[in-house]
Amino acid sequence: MRGLARFETRAILRGRWATAATVALAVVATVITITGLGSFRQLGLGSIGPAAVGLLNLALLLPTGQALLMAAMTVASNREGGLYAMARARGVRSSRLVASAWWAATLSAWTSIAGGFGLVAFILALNVPLADLTTFAALIAVSMAAAATAAGLGALVGTLVATRLQAAMLGLGAWFVWAIGLDLVVLGLGVFSQLGATGLVMATVANPLQAGRILALLAFDASATILGPVGAFLVDSAGRGLAALFLAGVMVAWTVATIWLGAAVLHRRDL
């Protein structure tokens, strides 16, 4: 059973959804980049320009959605299709099953990121200063980390449902909540000013994808307005380096916790 992660990675990468996600990412990223170059003669990666914001949102939204859905559906279909039952009967532990699905979904998202932003990297290399390229590389690194975190959430979602369809539905819902919904709620209620220091930290801890967004913004020369209340608070109270470390830690903690929790749930469920 050593090849379980490799087996699942092949199954995902050969699927049309992984290809579609890569193509979609490549097309949209290229359009944003070319539009940015044409309109502003530079992308403004060193600070925040329209094209940079577009690339940042794209790098954090699409790969995280892909990773979350792929992980959720992989776990659900393996359970639904009897693969996990066959594996467990042979003594394969639930933690290994969940970790394999997480790794396969993460690799799938990373492949899409590499494929999708590969052309953008080439275009940027010809048109922007070296410093901007470093910022772009940091953005890609954060995108990969966020995808890995989202895959952990997806793996947990997959263990909670009975079918592939339920995994897709709950996965989409979870992605919406973490990627967009929580922000909308907090902004809509206007509660940032009332949260206080602990509340602001907790708001970050509760949303790993938001932590990824702030981490990505830290790679830019972003102002407090762009960083938002949480990012500004963290930078103000701990400095950029510690704030980045804290945000990365939040993402790692979520990844480990969701895989562990998913394994615990799967262990207790009938397969």
């Binding site: 087996f7 699942e8 009897g82 693969l83 039952a85 066959m86 009967a89 003594g91 009938d270």
Partner: protein
Amino acid sequence: MVTEPRLSTRRLGKRYGQLVVLESVSVDFAPGSLVAVTGPNGAGKSTLLACLAGVIGHTGEVLVNSVPAGPGAIAYLPQRVQFPANVLVGEVLDLFGGGSGVPAGFIPDRGRKISELSGGQRRRVAVAVSVGSEAEVVLLDEPLANLDDQGRSEVVAILDSLRARGTTVVVASPTVVDLLTMVDRVLVVAEGGITFDGPAGRYFAGIKTGIWVRGTLPEVSRLIADRRAVGEWQVLSCREDRAAELISTLLASGVAPSDIRLGGPDEGSRRGSGPEV
């Protein structure tokens, strides 16, 4: 000398909410034995196998060689198996270490994608994965489902070879006609427990409703006491001690297993359709 059971259950129980599927089932399986678990739909055959495989929660104990099963001790084929569509047959076999215990030609080419296979071919791959390991206990839930007559007879031969090398094989199936010539023992699961536990001959002898045969009937007049036609079926009655021989003769004469029913044409679909013992 008393042989220690290879696989055993002690007061095994399983319930889904208020529904009791298995209650205090204690049963032993000898090394190198082939056991058919049968019974009507919904009686708990699959649940029993899933409990034995350790893939669903239950009360009581399941032991392999008198201790809880260790990694690799049990191979299990669920009733429904769906491999990822984009992987190759060879990759599935490599993952589970299967394919070694089946004859050439039983499984499709290793380079074919799962999505290109028919239902029967996919079932062959699943069976090959399950029987090809080094497990001491092999649990198969309806391994003959979706297979044509040739595939069924090939699986039966594979099960025989597994037993010959000392593996304990437990097969769940709503019908056991195919397995008649070779099973050591039949268990009938119904009403939360084991309602029949004995050799195949005694199981067949206990069938009171006749042996139903579809299509052209071969020469078996020396074995039957009476026959009557019901639609496309011939209902044969015989002496209890000749039931097993009659079914063996029908199979040997080329009657397809799917054209033989014990207890009526809808055998296995009605609760309580097992033999009255």
